[in-house]
């Protein structure tokens, strides 16, 4: 686009005018269209009115939360023109560790949670470091991490779910209580009106928003994604920022892992398979460009709702698997088409 001439800016009071135009054609506006389109579907096919019940929406949000949390980290990475395929496996690894710590070792959350977050962040930071220092393409590095973390999760869990059924030495099983922290994370607040995981998701959104829109680091991430060479020439600490981005993605994956374990009340080494695709889809449907340098977390929030509601609406209408898949494909394209002017 640069170097390609465009219409004169020298018009009178360009600021206010362009402000208006930007608002009108703002990605958020189009992302909103996509969401509304899906909601419309919900109103038409309401699954015997289920769609009009608040609980349906509450649960839709809860189901979308884990993906949304992953998508927050994914957004940071994608803005640097990178990608992180390992989020799903890291989620599983953390879910397993969290269950191990809390259920089997009976650790206090004050130890278990920080430890888990550290594990997730470490995975991300390692990817980021190698990508930045050894110049491996993000796609392939995180693909490797995806495979590795999955293997690690299986090793840690001994290839079985880490559940409240604990094996005795004689091969029989004894049942232990679900840890308090699990129940807490899986509970609801504000008079049963919103799930804790949904709140956690919103917190993640807020944190990423501050990072992207308010802190210097945010500028750096955008600059790296927009023109890495330019960023370097401008004195941006590129490597450090990449470690930050992927580390953050790892951290968010860990948070998602905690939520997953709490909701499943167990650590499943197979959990989160193919979640990375959903997370990426969310980010892109929001309107963030995979080429990097553009987009934002607000868009990802909208994307999360779009995908989340799509899932829910198909589910309450008991659409059979085959049909559901085809519809999903079509609707994704339709939704993105509403924003093709952006792409």
């Amino acid at each position: 686009m640069a170097g390609k001439p465009d219409e004169p800016a020298l018009s009178t009071k360009p600021a206010t005018l362009s402000e208006l135009r930007r608002l009108a054609a703002h990605p958020a506006t189009t992302a909103l269209f996509a969401l509304l389109l899906v909601l419309l579907l919900g109103f038409i096919f309401s699954g015997d009115g289920a769609f009009y019940k608040w609980t349906t929406h509450r649960d839709a949000l809860r189901q979308a939360s884990v993906f949304g949390i992953l998508a927050c980290g994914m957004t940071l990475v994608i803005i640097t023109a990178g990608i992180d395929l390992s989020v799903g496996s890291v989620l599983a690894l953390v879910a397993v560790c969290f269950s191990l710590f809390s259920i089997h070792w009976r650790l206090t959350p004050w130890l278990a949670i920080p430890a888990c977050l550290a594990i997730g962040t470490a995975c991300g930071a390692v990817s980021g470091g190698i990508i930045a220092k050894l110049r491996i393409q993000p796609f392939i590095m995180t693909l490797a991490m995806m495979v590795f973390a999955r293997g690690l999760a299986k090793t840690v869990s001994g290839g079985m779910k880490v559940s409240t059924a604990v094996a005795n030495d004689d091969g029989t099983y004894r049942y232990v209580d679900v840890p308090q922290i699990f129940r807490m994370i899986d509970s609801r607040l504000l008079g049963d009106n919103i799930s804790v995981v949904s709140l956690i998701f919103l917190v993640c959104v807020a944190v990423s928003w501050i990072l992207l829109a308010r802190l210097r680091w945010g500028r750096y991430l955008y600059a790296i994604g927009g023109n890495e060479e330019a960023a370097r020439l401008s004195g941006v600490p590129v490597s450090a920022m990449k470690v930050l981005a992927y580390g953050a993605a790892g951290l968010f994956s860990a948070v998602a892992g905690l939520c997953q374990a709490a909701q499943e009340q167990q650590g499943d080494p197979e959990a989160g398979t193919a979640y990375e695709l959903t997370a990426i889809a969310i980010v892109v449907i929001g309107g963030t460009n995979l080429m990097g340098g553009r987009g934002g977390i607000g868009l990802t929030l909208l994307g999360t709702l779009t995908i989340g509601y799509l899932e829910k609406i198909l589910s309450i209408n008991a659409v059979p698997e085959a049909g559901r898949l085809m519809l999903t494909g079509i609707i994704i394209v339709a939704a993105v088409l509403l924003q093709r002017r952006r792409a």
Partner: protein, 314 residues
């Protein structure tokens, strides 16, 4: 599978509380049943749904809503919640996991909706009725059969299902218990993740490694078939026996009929039984808390006769 049932829970012998009494008193229907399947990706579960469908067709007072969690526990949990919200008369669930679905099921019970748990258990006793077969037992039976086929000695390849899944673990455990102390040794074992192409790959490796293979024990029939194809490609299919599990009419049983496999052990879906039990419950009659389905073995000799029952009563 049993392994997920904590020994701590008392195997409730007395019959379930008459769930139907909470439901509307009608004893004639029409009734809506919500069926949540954990993953239609697997042929066996496809079969389960088919069985339920077939059985339900015979009773036009029944309407069954099928949902597929496509292998996602949290999705399946949402299914139960949605069924409760929609106020169905009864829920049939074939859980992906015991643990995560225990509480959603309990909530449904509290909401006065009877729940039939199929194949995999939930923890505790807050459900109306469990119908399922015993993978450990089937694995053990397969083991016994193999032992006396090989006369207590031989080289066996074990192609395991996804070992992070309970059926995989149980079919492995039962089998190993059975061959305990015999001269049968497992010369090669690998996780083929229930997938036929993977089974074929692993079998090729096994063939490449060792000249002496007497029998292949696969945790499902597609696995056994994949192994057969590999052996066939190596021209060694005649000196190797192939044993699988599941015995779906169009899979394992067919393979045995064709002489591809030597034996397959049925892992019943319980679909038909589920509908019968459902009707009993809905009519307000009492049902047993536990129904353990018997299994059948199909071999060259008995396949046309429809196999022979093994293990538990049915």
């Amino acid at each position: 599978g049993k392994s997920e049932e904590p020994t701590g829970t008392p195997p409730t012998t007395q019959s379930a509380e008459p769930a139907a009494s909470e439901a509307e008193p009608t004893t004639t229907g029409p009734w809506t049943i919500g069926m949540s399947q954990c993953n239609l990706g697997e042929p066996w579960r496809e079969q389960m749904n088919t069985d339920i469908e077939q059985a339900a067709l015979k009773h036009d007072e029944l309407e069954v809503i099928f949902k597929d969690a496509s292998n996602d526990t949290l999705k399946q949990r949402a299914h139960v919640e949605e069924f409760v919200a929609a106020g169905v008369d009864l829920i049939i669930i074939s859980p992906k996991e015991a643990q995560p679905l225990t509480e959603p099921v309990a909530k449904a019970i509290e909401a006065g909706i009877p729940v039939i748990v199929l194949d995999r258990r939930v923890i505790g006793d807050r459900y109306t009725c469990f119908i399922g077969a015993d993978n450990v037992l089937i694995g053990r039976e397969a083991g016994k059969w193999i032992v006396d086929q090989l006369g207590g000695a031989g080289n066996v390849v074990e192609l395991k299902g996804l070992m992070t899944s309970t059926p995989g673990q149980d079919r492995h455990r039962g089998f190993r218990e059975a061959i305990e102390g015999t001269a049968i040794d497992i010369i090669f074992e690998a996780d083929m993740k229930w997938l036929e192409p993977d089974a074929r790959k692993e079998m090729e490796s096994a063939l490449a490694r060792s000249g002496e293979i007497d029998l292949v024990y696969a945790h499902n029939d597609p696995g056994a078939h994949g192994a057969y194809l590999a052996a066939k490609a190596a021209g060694r299919e005649d000196d190797i026996m192939f044993v699988g599990i599941d015995a779906l009419p169009h899979e394992g049983v067919m393979y045995v009929k064709q002489g591809i496999m030597d034996a397959t052990f049925q892992y019943p879906t319980g679909g038909a039984e589920a509908i019968d039990i459902a009707l009993t419950i809905l009519r307000g009659e009492e049902v047993p808390k536990e129904i353990t389905l018997g299994s059948r073995v199909f071999t060259q000799d008995n396949v046309d006769a429809g196999g022979e029952p093994i293990g538990g009563e049915s």
